[in-house]
């Protein structure tokens, strides 16, 4: 008999280490003490407990006979650590799909029952290359279909998906997928890799992010599940696609010869071509409309033909200078506007959403006069009051809030904090003097941003890391603020039919979740230093106001 543990140092007080048995082998007791052997015998793997004992059990140090009664209120260890199970059970799980794009985007989705024995890694072995997703790098989701199969005792996020950007072409083919569990158990599957286009792969990943079931609210969960690994990979992959989309634009100019525009209105179109002619008709009514040029950058390749025709018709009907830039794929708001700025001729850049129209009869001239009057600190970057179609205020500057959700709501440890953008005066009566007062604000809406070209270029334009569109307006304004010039809100009035400017699909919701994560990661620390809330009291703001 080995010496029993004498102190807590050897292990927890309530655990009694292995005690080798004495006396004769007892079949019934051996099977009772080793239920895994009991099952293995029942399954016919061994003829008897004795056979198992002779072959393995003895070497494993398993008890062959019970001690003189189980010690009460203690745990009795009956085998050496790591050898408790006859064999670890392979997990239940499945891989739904592995998709690979020509540029090396890799997307994998499936489920694994790891409610008890946790997943450690997901390994992919393909001829010519292999990779392993650590469990933490995978996004976990609820899978009602898999829950039907395995019926976990408690709700558990059985689903998983992962994304990685190899940055180079990879060969497709058959993939040996190994789901490796913490226990050492593994499930090995052979899955055929599907090849899909790069854009399709991005679409799938964003759609997955937006439409997956989560243990808690998707608003917090979607950004949280990509924070560890998928987020940066998706941003990088998307940035590659953006660079590709803007690399070969088709540009058509409908210009009156000899005109030198004082300002360039830059509009990013997506999904809804009718806004070009609507905007042209409504801007054309403005005295001074011909002092501007109108640069339309289209992110929907399918609209190219319609827009070429519509620009020709609008130019013929109104005679304003139009530059039409057509992209072969969706480059997103930031890159499209940056490209528009690069192609624009004027020293004043005005970024306008397609669903924004002048509300005041003399907007065009007032804006030019305001921009020319300066001083630069007040006019290098400014926004305007935006109105809903019902006449109420929609925007008089933006501020930021931070929301935190407890981690236990999300089935994870850490709390999740996300930044939220709010508009001053949303839904307010149209003539609230306090809201319309010209002043520096934390940010202004990208629906209307007027910027001096020099300052915009010094800020290096909109950040192209944000996918599709969202937050890059706030990001630009915050960079301007950090560089010493917060955005101003000026007393100019436009309609903004918010949210009606383009088609909104799950893929956009997914991109918005990525952007929410990225924006929070980029700015939370800065904003916590006095820039949160409607009464933001950052020194840059008060200095500018003075």
């Amino acid at each position: 008999m080995r010496a029993p543990a004498k102190s807590a140092k050897a292990g927890p007080a309530r655990v009694q280490p292995l005690a080798a048995p004495e006396g004769a082998f007892d079949e019934q007791t051996y099977l009772r003490l080793n239920p895994d052997v009991l099952i293995a015998v029942a399954e016919g793997k061994f003829r008897s407990g004795r056979e198992h004992y002779e072959l393995y059990g003895k070497a494993e140090g398993r008890l062959a006979a019970a001690p003189a009664g189980l010690p009460r209120d203690k745990i009795l260890i009956t085998a050496r650590p790591g050898q408790a199970e006859e064999a670890p059970h392979p997990p239940q799980g499945a891989v739904d799909a592995i998709k690979l794009s020509p540029s090396g985007g890799l997307y994998v989705t499936g489920w694994v029952h790891d409610a008890l024995d946790r997943l450690d890694a997901l390994e992919l072995y393909v001829p010519g290359w292999s990779t392993a997703f650590s469990a933490a790098a995978l996004a976990r989701t609820r899978r009602p279909d898999a829950e039907e199969v395995v019926k976990p005792h408690l709700p558990h996020a059985l689903g998983f998906w992962g994304f990685i950007h190899a940055g180079q072409h990879l060969g497709a083919g058959k993939c040996n997928v190994v789901m490796r569990m913490k226990s050492g158990a593994e499930l090995s599957l052979i899955v055929a890799i599907e090849t899909v286009e790069d854009l399709e792969l991005r679409f799938l990943a964003f759609q997955q992010l937006a439409t997956a079931h989560y243990p808690g609210p998707a608003y917090f969960n979607a950004p949280a599940v990509i924070a560890a690994a998928i987020g940066p990979q998706l941003v990088e992959f998307s940035a590659m696609l953006t660079r590709r989309a803007v690399s070969a634009p088709f540009i058509e100019r409908f210009h009156q010869p000899g005109r030198r525009p004082l300002a360039s209105i830059i509009v990013c179109l997506y999904g809804r071509p009718e806004y070009l002619r609507l905007q042209q008709a409504l801007f054309a009514r403005q005295p001074g409309a011909e002092e501007y040029e109108y640069v339309y950058v289209c992110n929907s390749a399918s609209l190219a033909e319609t827009l070429l025709k519509d620009a020709a018709i609008a130019h013929r009907a109104h005679g304003l200078d139009i530059t039409l830039i057509l992209l072969g794929a969706n480059a997103g708001f930031a890159a499209a506007n940056n490209l528009g700025a690069a192609q624009a001729r004027a020293s004043r850049l005005v970024f306008v959403n397609p669903d924004v129209f002048p509300k005041e009869p003399d907007f065009a001239r007032r804006h030019l006069a305001l921009a020319a009057a300066g001083p630069a600190a007040r006019t290098d970057l400014f926004g305007a009051a935006l109105y809903y179609d019902d006449g109420s205020l929609m925007h008089a500057g933006m501020y930021f809030e931070a929301d935190t959700a407890p981690g236990f709501m999300l089935g994870q440890g850490e709390d999740v904090t996300l930044l939220r953008v709010e508009h001053y005066g949303k839904g307010a009566p149209p003539d609230d003097a306090a809201l319309l007062r010209p002043r520096p604000v934390p940010a202004v809406s990208g629906a209307f941003i007027s910027a001096a070209r020099g300052w915009f270029e010094r800020l290096e334009g909109f950040s192209e890391s944000y996918v599709f569109g969202h937050y890059e307006d706030a990001d630009l304004c915050l960079r301007s603020l950090e560089a010493g010039r917060p955005a101003w809100l000026h007393d100019l009035h436009l309609w903004h039919l918010e949210g009606k400017g383009g088609a909104r699909l799950p893929v956009h919701e997914g991109a918005a979740a990525v952007n929410r994560w990225l924006f929070t990661q980029s700015w939370l620390q800065t904003l916590r230093a006095g820039l949160l809330g409607p009464q933001a009291a950052h020194p840059a703001l008060s200095e500018a106001a003075a």
Partner: protein, 416 residues
Amino acid sequence: MKVLIIAMYHPELVRGGSQQVAHELFQGLRETPGVEPVLLCSADHNSPALFKSGARITGFDGRENEFLFLSHDYDYVWQKLPLPLQAQAFAEFLERIRPDVVHFHHFMTYGIDYLSLARRVCPAARIVFTAHEFLVVCAAQGHMVRPPDGALCERATPVRCHQCLPQHPPEHFFLRAQWMKSHLAAVDRFTVPGRFMAATYEKWGLPAEKITHVPNGLRLPSLKAQPAAPARRNRFGFFGQLIDVKGLSVLLEAVALLRAEGFTDFSVEVNGENIHFASPEIRARIEQFQAGEAELPPAERRVRFNGGYHPGQVAARMARVDWVVVPSLWWEIFCLVLSEAWACGRPVIASDVGGLAERVTDGGDGLLFPLGDARALAEAMRRAATEEGLWERLAAGIAPPPSLAEMVAGYLKVYG
């Protein structure tokens, strides 16, 4: 003075009120010394044989100064064409014609932005726009009748329009109004055939001082000789398309009510076609009535469906009835049938709204009943059929409807 008249469809290709007015005005102007009119009518998929390869504007059947604008792929939501070459052809046509007056009787099949285009190509021309309905205000076919409940609409707002056409959000209608107004800004003078329309357009935002009332004066049928007066004035006629807003179903319901009351000493003749443009419900109601009527023994039938008619048949059809019933369920802007009935000496029994209420004097030259009220119409019909001397008194009160010469004079004044 060179006047370019622009119409949706040529009336000989597709029949309709606005194109008929435009065409007759064109003919009237042709007989006016010092005026050189040109007519541009559209043709579309309804007349495929008239499209010629590569042509955008062509002549029309060898007629002097009549042209066809070959329209296709029209966008009815925004009222615009997606065709830059068509816009170019229109601009070149204007440059060639060099009109002093560009008179739009419609913009559909061209696009509302052709007003802006005309202004840009002809900066000095006088642009006149005649509204034959409320299409710039109302996206529900310009009828200003609310589809959910058939109520007449007096105020188009984004939310109210969204209720009528829920497939579009309120913002769509806000933008639609802005888009329309931006192009209507090119117009020097608006004309309306019904006085009451001016109020609706003013409320919507058109400047009152730019709106003129010019009634439609057309070449009208006349009865060569009045047939011998029948013993009873109990024959009613319906003239018009068999579509919902013309209200035939109200008349048929009134007939059913009279029958149920045991009053059957009357007849109704229905003249009109295009039932396939009616809503499925109204169409079913009319067809059920028609089938029921056909099952009755001939002596008990009271309603006869004569089918469609062409202008040359109007007088003969009018001669067979004493009264013309106009049970329209919409504003009925001008009502050509009213002019036709009066030209044939027939008093009308009409709904009490819009152009009908404006033109008919209840008890003076006709009878009015509350819009859509079959019960009231039944009573008016029973009174008309039974009250001695009523028909003669009302028929004697009829004033001649506006003539073509009056309309031409009215427009010449607008042309300045």
